[in-house]
């Protein structure tokens, strides 16, 4: 099966056609350098993305906590993860950057972690 992908390794954005069979690359055409091959390899074997979003909190001054998946999750699971996150609410008074907010979301090998320290844990007043 042939797939067209755009290489993101440099501003050229080569349009590549890759022939794939059972996650194995048969050929890559259209890339102008070897980085294109590496990108094609990566997009074929594990097309993952880091999911970044927010979760509601019970802290009035900080209604949303920015969160991320600790590591890339499969592209086709992003929207399912968003549904789980939308139903979630952070109720702890203090959260630190890096704290696990949802562990192993959807049973995947990735936690949803906090990107910021909120609550009593941080003060900006000078």
């Amino acid at each position: 099966m042939n797939r067209e992908i755009i290489c993101i390794m440099c501003p050229l954005g080569c349009r590549m056609v890759i022939g794939v069979e059972e996650a194995a690359i048969l050929h890559v055409k259209g890339n102008k350098c070897k980085e294109g091959l590496e990108y094609a390899q990566q997009e074929t074997s594990f097309p993952g993305r880091v999911l970044t979003t927010t979760i509601k909190t019970t802290i009035p001054e900080v209604p949303l906590l920015p969160v991320r998946s600790e590591k890339p999750i499969p592209k086709d699971q992003l929207e399912n993860c968003m549904e789980v996150i939308a139903r979630h609410m952070v109720t702890k008074p203090i959260i630190k950057a890096g704290d696990i907010v949802i562990s192993r979301i959807l049973g995947l090998d990735a936690h949803i972690i906090s990107c910021a320290t909120i609550g009593e844990g941080v003060s900006h007043e000078g």
Partner: protein, 420 residues
């Protein structure tokens, strides 16, 4: 009026201002003040919840809030307070500052050096002059980003995004993941305005329609936006017969950023039309002695990592200015933007320590070469979306003191060779 006498005053606590404050402090200057009009430090980073920050500076892939927190924590650990909720209303050529906040009311700051780190703002509908009615439901992409990511409001249900800058494309994905519909991203150029990475990961991944060589030519709606008319554009002209309506309740504008220099103007700081920011030397000093500038107020950067580095340089040199260790030559070398270079900073070289040039090209060049004086650097491709940096050593510059000029250009190479 209360007057605060300080060594260095930093206007803005975004990524440039925080880096400048940290470096000033590290240089041993303790009597500094940082003023920030928002209620939190970090500037734009707080609402940029996506990842891709810090790949160069920290060699890690961080989100905006994570990147900001590293600096906020470090500032706190070094005992550098930030005057939040504080608006600078005036900056004068003698460097004195008038500011206002709820605790002190109006107060004066008398600094020996100033770092301008006010950042940039978004272009609005007014700067595009799109005809039509004036309903609610038209936002700049960055404002919508703050509403969605910080305040927790989705400002509409069906979106059209005009302009494919990075914020526009990132917002397209964000809105879609939050359950809204993105009907189209409309871009007047034949290619996206932002990074290829964002075109692929924000638009293609989610099958969001991208209309290249199109623009919005009319806005409909009485109280709330009801739709927009889009059309194909060919060589700056709307193609007759290509017009069509797209119904939507919200239009986001991602059509460029403008350095915010009202205060700089008041202080008689000379500005460059190409960058929209102050004219500077390699120490980041503006044309007004003791006033330095860094970050998006100087030129709109591509990566926050570069903003941090610029902030550090400005902070370091502001500290040296206070210490009296900045050494200038009696003459200077003017840096000239040559072939295919849209803008370049610094605008002039005044010292003997070498300089780092930061430039943007006008056109995408494949198999490219940047030529500065006798120095040539090769690249696979250079795009107008990137800020390119070139280091010039004192010896690279030595022969240019006599003519007082050095030109930088970017051209296509004829032969294939090894790239850097």
């Amino acid at each position: 009026m209360v007057t605060k006498e300080v060594d260095v005053a930093i206007i803005g606590a975004g990524s440039a201002g925080m880096a400048a404050a940290l470096r000033t402090k590290e240089m041993g200057i303790d009597n500094i003040i940082m003023v920030e009009r928002a209620e939190y430090p970090g500037g734009l980073l707080r609402q940029c919840i996506h990842n891709g920050f810090g790949l160069q500076y920290f060699k890690q892939d961080l989100t905006g809030p994570e990147y900001a927190e590293r600096f906020i924590k470090k500032l706190a650990s070094m005992g550098t307070p930030i005057c939040l909720n504080t608006m600078v209303t005036h900056l004068y050529p003698d460097r004195s500052i008038i500011a206002i906040n709820p605790e002190l009311g109006e107060f004066k700051i008398s600094p020996r050096a100033v770092v301008l780190a006010m950042g940039c703002r978004e272009r609005t509908r007014a700067s595009l002059g799109i005809p039509g009615s004036r309903p609610s439901g038209i936002f700049t992409a960055g404002l919508a980003q703050k509403l969605v990511n910080v305040d927790g409001y989705l400002p509409g249900e069906e979106f059209v995004i005009l302009g494919s800058g990075d914020i526009g494309m990132i917002m397209a994905r964000r809105l879609l993941l939050e359950g809204a519909t993105v009907k189209a991203v409309v871009e007047i150029m034949p290619h996206v305005g932002g990074l290829i990475r964002n075109e692929v990961q924000c638009l293609h991944d989610f099958e969001i329609p991208l209309l290249l060589e199109h623009t919005v030519i009319e806005i409909y709606g009485d109280r709330r936006l009801e739709g927009v008319k889009v059309a194909r554009v060919d060589k700056g002209e709307v193609v007759k017969g290509s017009e069509r309506d797209i119904s939507c309740d919200t239009l986001l504008l991602s059509v460029g950023l403008v350095p915010e220099n009202e205060l700089s103007r008041e202080a008689d700081v000379l500005l460059d039309d190409a960058t929209g920011g102050p004219v500077i030397d390699e120490f980041m000093q503006t044309t007004i002695e003791g006033i330095f500038a860094a970050g998006n107020v100087l030129q709109v950067y591509d990566l926050v990592d570069n903003v941090t580095l610029a902030g550090e340089k400005a902070g370091e040199n502001a500290a040296r200015y206070v210490e009296g260790t900045l050494r200038k030559q009696p003459t200077e070398i003017e840096v000239i933007a040559g072939e295919n270079v849209r803008s370049v900073t610094p605008h002039k070289i005044v010292g003997l320590e070498g300089a780092e040039l930061a430039l943007r090209v006008k056109q995408l060049v494949e198999n490219a070469e940047i030529v500065v004086g006798n120095k040539r650097r090769r690249y696979r491709a250079i795009s107008p979306t990137e800020v390119m940096k070139i280091n010039l050593s004192p010896s690279d510059l030595a022969q240019f003191w006599e003519s007082g000029k050095i030109s930088v250009s970017c051209q296509r190479r004829q032969t294939e060779e090894v790239y850097e």
